[in-house]
């Protein structure tokens, strides 16, 4: 009797839990309807093709006139497609570079864009502020190819502005001129500068908008209490920006194993001698696989980058959740 009661209760509990979703669906019909278009798009655009990750474990070949026939007839090869990555003695170098660059980009990007956004908001003069904001955006419009030519026009050892005009003008002798494209040590700084220059304006916009969305009443109240402007920034602006900073950083962490191909390939001109400091996973994959046309190995590379990023972002999300569940991604 006793036991049957508990099972009954258990069942009842379960069924409540089971009907939970349907119940919610009914209760929040409109909310679900509002989600529907976006869900439909990502189902088609992202989730349907996702079965394609299986190609990473296949030796993909062509057998007939149809993709599925090719797919099912292709042999399973386990992790073989991932080997080109472990086969290289450079695996450590490229992983290290990818992570360190991304780390630097995330931190510097965050600090500079938040800083710029805040002081843009403080500047007196509506039009100058708007002008600064608009001009900061300009580098974003220049394609990496154009940027790479600009960098080359600056740094080229034969014709570059720095070596031909600037440094000689400052009295540097011809022998002491730096060989920009021959010295790997300089590139971490050059690439970080170029990346910051290109994206600060873009990243800044989010924070500028977030500040614009802050309720002015907060500041008015603080003013009445006699708080100075810097105190207001510390106690109102920054805390209210924090959720956005956390989210954007978490999202960026998910992509730390990817890098901007244009930056690392075009801007560096893929110069071999710089490999120690410019080699990242994406350019390595490109250099290694370009001539192979291998669908399997290409998806293996992508899957590896995704998985690593996924693990990182799940763990960071967990930490954020522990500290403040409201700021977590999910």
């Amino acid at each position: 009797m006793e036991s049957s009661l508990t099972t009954k209760r258990g069942k009842a509990l379960k069924s409540v839990h089971k009907h939970g979703f349907l119940y919610e669906l009914k209760k929040n019909k409109v909310l679900f309807l509002m989600m529907l278009p976006a869900l439909a798009v990502i189902l088609v655009n992202n989730y349907l093709p996702m079965a394609g990750v299986l190609i990473a474990f296949k030796n993909f070949k062509y057998f007939g006139r149809n993709f599925f026939e090719n797919f099912f007839k292709s042999k399973w090869v386990g992790l073989e497609n991932f080997e080109f990555f472990t086969a290289t003695p450079d695996a450590f170098t490229i992983t290290r570079n990818t992570l360190l660059y991304n780390l630097a980009f995330i931190v510097i990007g965050l600090v500079i864009s938040v800083f710029f956004a805040i002081i843009l908001n403080e500047i007196k003069g509506k039009y100058t502020s708007k002008f600064y904001q608009a001009s900061m955006f300009l580098p974003y419009f220049m394609s990496w190819i154009v940027v790479s030519y600009l960098v080359f026009a600056l740094l080229s050892e034969e014709q570059g502005f720095v070596n031909k005009s600037l440094l000689p003008m400052l009295g540097v002798s011809a022998d002491a001129l730096p060989t920009w494209y021959g010295d790997p040590g300089k590139w971490p700084i050059i690439l970080t500068l170029v990346n910051t220059w290109k994206f600060t304006g873009y990243n800044c916009v989010v924070y500028v908008a977030a500040i614009a969305g802050i309720d002015q009443e907060y500041y008015e109240a603080a003013t009445v209490d006699g708080a100075s402007r810097f105190y207001q920034i510390r106690k109102i602006t920054i805390p209210l920006l924090t959720p956005l900073m956390v989210i954007l950083t978490l999202l960026a962490v998910g992509r730390v194993f990817y890098s901007d191909f244009g930056l690392f390939f075009s801007v560096t001109r893929n110069v071999g001698t710089l490999f120690e400091t410019i080699g990242v996973i994406d350019t390595y994959v490109y250099n290694a696989l370009r001539n192979l046309n291998d669908v399997g190995m290409a998806s293996a590379a992508g899957l590896y980058q995704s998985l690593c990023g996924f693990i990182l972002v799940l763990s960071s999300n967990l930490i954020v959740r522990k500290i403040d569940p409201d700021k977590a991604l999910f």
Partner: protein
Amino acid sequence: MKHNENSNTLNTVSPFWNGLFHVIFTLYSLACIIPLLLVIGVSFTDEKTVVTSGYNFIPKVFSLEAYKWVVKSGDAIVRAYGLSIMITIVGTILSVSIIAMFAYVISRKDFKYRNTFSFIVFFTMIFNGGLVPWYMVYTNFLHINDTLLAYIIPSLVNAWYVMIMRTFFQTNVPDSIIESAKIDGAGEFRTFIQIVIPLAKPGLATIALFQTLGFWNDWYLPLMLIENAKLYNLQYILYKTLTAIQYLATASNMTQGTAEILAKLPSETARMAMCVLAIGPIILAYPFFQKYFVKGLTVGAVKG
């Protein structure tokens, strides 16, 4: 009166800091504008002059050759411009509406499955099935290749922007407002349109700006999904020209017989001309978004 003065000084930084900020931004703006001026300068310079005497802000020998070469047949470029503008406008409006609706739902603290659905969206940012299955969905399943839909549907939802928008809703729209709207008997959708949207304007303007740039700058979708030359957008025409320049400029003996094409190729200047052509309209659109980023929005004002 006194109180007012006091609040004014407290509400702004001191002249010293204000001056310093101006200096910082002036320098930084210059660093951003000067390269663009250089690009414009080079684009109007004669190709040979560029190779022999390098980049200059003011053309030593003025030439429109690069633009003529890029534009080649005028009508194609004009059509592509029109198409790009149309796709950008329609795409942005659709996309921002879809993203905003979704982000709003998952921003609601009283919505039980908000984390599940956040995760569903976030997951797409990390994992993808690779190019081939994606390509097949559009060509074999939806059959929207070679139509204008191919420009729009794949970019409608972007996980990154959904998350940004969610955060904007969370921070800018107090729960209490939604609660009170509910108590007043407003339906969910009406609450969203009449109360939530106005509060989230800066956030909406941000993702609208990003999506405008995204649709405008897109060359990848037409590269994969469009074959009909009448449906090319501007960026794709520029992209094709650019890669062909890159390719022809470096291809060795592989492409025999391309002598005549090479002879006419203004590679250095054409690259810059394309950059200028692509920036033009989008720079004009920027102020439209910018007006939503200025401070001064108060929740109270909306409430009243």
